[in-house]
Amino acid sequence: MRAYVHDEKTDGKLLALCEATGIDILTSDQVRRRKKLPEQYDFFLDQVDVLIMEITKPTQDIHFILAQAILADKPVLCVYAKNQSPRELLRHINKKPAPRPIKTFSYTGNTLGSVVIQFIRTHDPEAREHDEKPSIKFTIRLTPRNERYISWYSERYALPKADAIRKLLDERDTLDPDFPENAAK
């Protein structure tokens, strides 16, 4: 699956989240740098399967892309920062009777990742595989007792400590009925 990602607000966080899923990505920077549309395409939206756009401060180009995406019935995820909704743009989008190909979401730093992953997995069944591939670095401070437990656990199951931590999280993940992604299955 290929996604167009338009992001001029999150300092690359949105793009990194999309890249972590392993899908093929086309960015607005790549589009601006190239001299023409690739020969095999006559309509720019045919290059991608979905669009993921940060729309807190919508530009003329964002308006145009969304207009064509609605007409073409192309799935789009529009995210905007919480308490900074682009009201006029949302009003235009909501005029279109449901079902609409555009999903909008007001995000915070903690919620952006899950909404992007959920959107991608909805449109790309193979994204589950990429979901299983570790690619996100995470720094955490452990208590001395935590460290002793991880050392014991990794020795017991003959795993490196990082793998041991992931194993514990996986077990917790699959057993937790309150996690929204488990509820959706």
Binding site: L37, F43, K96
Partner: protein, 336 residues
């Protein structure tokens, strides 16, 4: 009865684009109100720009010029009210009409964008619903261009934005694939998640249209491919005394031996995919620096201008000299 709606009394913002409808759909609009309802129902349109739809002609004749003249007068009159102009035309003779309007408007300092419903799969153009969607998509591209910092009379009916007088149609051998391309690689922009403007594009300035509306209507147009051979020479010989010029369209190619049959007293323009020639004063001269569409439109416009100018001054230029004179940057300097 054709209608050109006057501008509404409410204040129009400086970023409003005028959308002039001169054809493009299979189903005609019967009134200005019906056009406005179509635009309102087309919700995506207003995401791109504030739009003032104008019904120039309910049933425009693709080969006629009255609706083109009305549109040019409207644009000249309302020039200051709009940030740009989008004109939809029927796909039959689209490039001829776009070129003719370009000559009538002259040099302009804002974007005037021509569009129509086009498809790379010509078979699909038999489906009216599909044609409507195609037209809507192309109108949105044209509206986006009409808000940008570009100027000139431009074609945007597909993926590329090209000066109208430099646009040609590229057809694949199978004849189901039809694309607009630039005759000399002068592309002002391409549609790619926005309109990506190139270095060739000219930016806005204060040039206003100076309409030159004298169009010669007494021209016979002969399509060689649509005329049985036994009738062709009869048509050529039978050019009436009222005709002031003839255009012979050879399609993909034209046997220049046809010149033996051409009338001697009036200019004849011969066009085909292979090139353009003018037959005048019993001489056949090649005109390589015009596209066939620009040549046909300019021929029509020039003959009207000659008739007008000859009433005002005594200097007589040949049609060939007029065709070789650059009026609106239509002369192609170098073909690739």
């Amino acid at each position: 009865m054709t209608v050109v709606s006057k501008a509404k009394s409410k204040k129009i913002s400086r970023s409003t684009v005028a959308l002039l409808y001169l054809g493009g759909r299979d189903l005609p609009f019967t009134s200005q109100r019906e056009l406005e309802r179509w635009c309102v129902g087309f919700l995506e349109l207003f995401l791109v720009a504030a739009v003032q739809p104008i019904l120039v002609s309910k049933k425009p004749n693709p080969g006629g010029i009255i609706h083109l003249l009305r549109a040019v007068r409207f644009i000249a009159r309302e020039w200051n009210r709009y940030t740009g102009f989008v004109i939809t035309l029927h796909r039959s003779r689209f490039l001829y009409a776009a070129n003719l309007m370009s000559f009538m408007l002259g040099i302009v300092g804002k974007p005037v964008i021509f569009t129509t419903a086009t498809s790379n799969d010509v078979e699909k153009l038999h489906d009216s619903q599909f044609v409507d969607t195609l037209l809507q998509s192309n109108i949105m591209n044209a509206l986006q261009a009409a808000t940008m910092n570009v100027r000139g009379t431009l074609v945007l009916a597909g993926a590329q934005m090209i000066p109208a007088t430099h646009t040609i149609i590229l057809r694949a051998k199978e004849k189901t694939d039809e694309r607009f391309r630039s005759a000399d690689n002068q592309v002002y922009g391409h549609v790619d998640f926005g309109i990506q403007v190139t270095k060739h594009a000219l930016t806005r300035n204060d040039d206003r249209p100076t309409p030159q509306l004298h169009i010669e209507e007494r021209i016979r147009y002969i399509n060689v491919n649509a005329t049985p051979e036994e009738e062709l020479f009869h048509l050529i010989h039978d050019v009436s005394r009222d005709c002031t010029g003839v255009i012979i369209d050879g399609g993909e190619s034209l046997r220049l031996s046809i010149t033996q049959e051409l009338p001697k007293k009036i200019p004849v323009l011969l066009v085909s995919t292979e090139g353009v020639h003018i037959y005048e004063d019993e001489k056949l001269i090649s005109i390589p620096q015009l596209t066939r569409y620009a040549a046909a439109a300019k021929f029509t416009w020039v003959l009207g201008s000659i008739a007008d100018r000859s009433r005002r001054d005594r200097k007589r230029k040949t049609v060939r000299e007029w065709l070789n004179t650059d009026f609106i940057h239509e002369i192609i300097q170098k073909r690739p």
